[in-house]
């Protein structure tokens, strides 16, 4: 009997209103609907979420580790891009 693996899905969960969906892990499921149901059982057992997204792992385009240098290193030497040169008033919180 042929035995093929179910596709892999990336699971994103929004933990509470106002926060963005966050990647929590991946799982196998035969289709999108079951991916959501499995995510509910695997990742929200302790009341972690109010919303779930499932994305086929194959549909995620990622940067390659070998491109790390050209992609990210040029930003290292440009410290003026960080907003650290402004004195912040003490009254302003959560910045």
């Amino acid at each position: 009997m042929e035995r093929s693996e179910w596709p892999l899905w990336e699971i994103f969960i929004r933990s509470q209103h106002g926060l963005a969906h966050k990647h929590v892990g991946s799982l196998h499921a035969p289709d999108a609907e079951m991916a959501i149901k499995n995510a509910r059982d695997v990742y929200t057992r302790r009341n972690e979420g109010v919303s779930i997204w499932a994305v086929k792992s194959a549909d995620v385009t990622a940067t390659a580790p070998s491109e790390k240098g050209p992609l990210f290193e040029p930003a290292n030497s440009k410290i003026y891009r960080h907003p650290t040169f402004f004195p912040m008033p003490d009254e302003v919180k959560h910045i």
Partner: protein, 256 residues
């Protein structure tokens, strides 16, 4: 007028359905077809176990009213013999293959949901409260098992053959769900329980439409097995209980 003894009996039926099915689902732990499914099915089992505890706790309190002392949840679960269990024959049937497990779950979940919707309006406040809480969990169980019936039925030739066989094999255990005895009739008349006969049309409709979507055939058999509610079980229950009860029976009062 319903007696406390009848109410106790009725509560045991609710509790035993949950407990026995939870134990069956627990047997899948570590054996599920994939990790995700193993976790999902265990969650359903744990939901049912939680519900069983609520029913047992109430049953123990009711028992105290006519027997002087009521048994604890553990005593009711682990110290009764098979003949004292009041669960439906359906839920004690062995797990078989995954199609067998899902067909059993599907038949039960749809009925369970319909029953709890009714019991949530019981004039016994405690029953209404437990039913309302359990209903939320069971709505999800019913959705999930229907999903599996559709995927297995409308899947490969192999999966379709297996789920059709499971649907056919378990059909004879579904009649009992809609067949009230004196206890149920008395409690239904007083608005404590519910007339299970009235659940049949809605159950058939849901089962029919899901099996239809799953490209499966609805069984036509009319010969049904009965007895679970009165303690007359299939040979499978005793074996299951032997495993389930062995530890508390060999080490009474054991704690860890």
């Amino acid at each position: 007028m319903a007696t406390d003894r009848q109410l106790f009996d009725f509560l045991l039926r609710l509790a035993d359905n949950d407990l026995v099915l939870a134990q069956r689902l627990g047997e899948w732990v570590g054996h599920g077809p994939v990790l995700e499914e193993d976790i999902a099915l265990t969650n359903v089992g744990l939901d049912l176990l939680g519900q069983a505890r609520l029913w047992f706790a109430y049953a123990g309190e009711v028992e105290a009213r006519f027997a002087g002392a009521g048994r604890s949840e553990d005593a009711l679960a682990f110290s009764r013999d098979g003949g004292e269990f009041r669960n439906l024959l359906l839920v004690e049937q062995p797990n078989g293959n995954y199609a067998d497990t899902m067909a059993r779950q599907f038949y039960f979940d749809v009925w369970h949901q319909l029953l709890l919707v009714k019991l949530a309006h019981s004039c016994d406040a405690r029953i209404a409260e437990i039913a309302a809480k359990a209903k939320k969990e069971v709505v999800y169980h019913a959705e999930r098992s229907a999903d599996w019936i559709i995927r297995l039925g409308d899947g490969t030739d192999e999966s379709q053959a297996r789920i059709q066989a499971a649907i056919d094999d378990l059909w004879m255990y579904t009649g009992e769900m809609f067949d009230p005895d004196e206890t149920e009739t008395v409690l239904a008349e007083e608005g404590i329980g519910c007339d299970v006969r009235t659940l049949a049309p809605a159950w058939r409709e849901v089962i029919g439409s899901v099996l239809d979507e799953a490209t499966l055939t609805i069984p036509a058999g009319t010969s049904m097995q009965r007895g679970g509610k009165n303690g007359v079980h299939t040979e499978h229950l005793g074996h299951m209980l032997a495993t389930m009860q062995s530890l508390p029976r060999s080490h009474p009062g054991a704690q860890w």
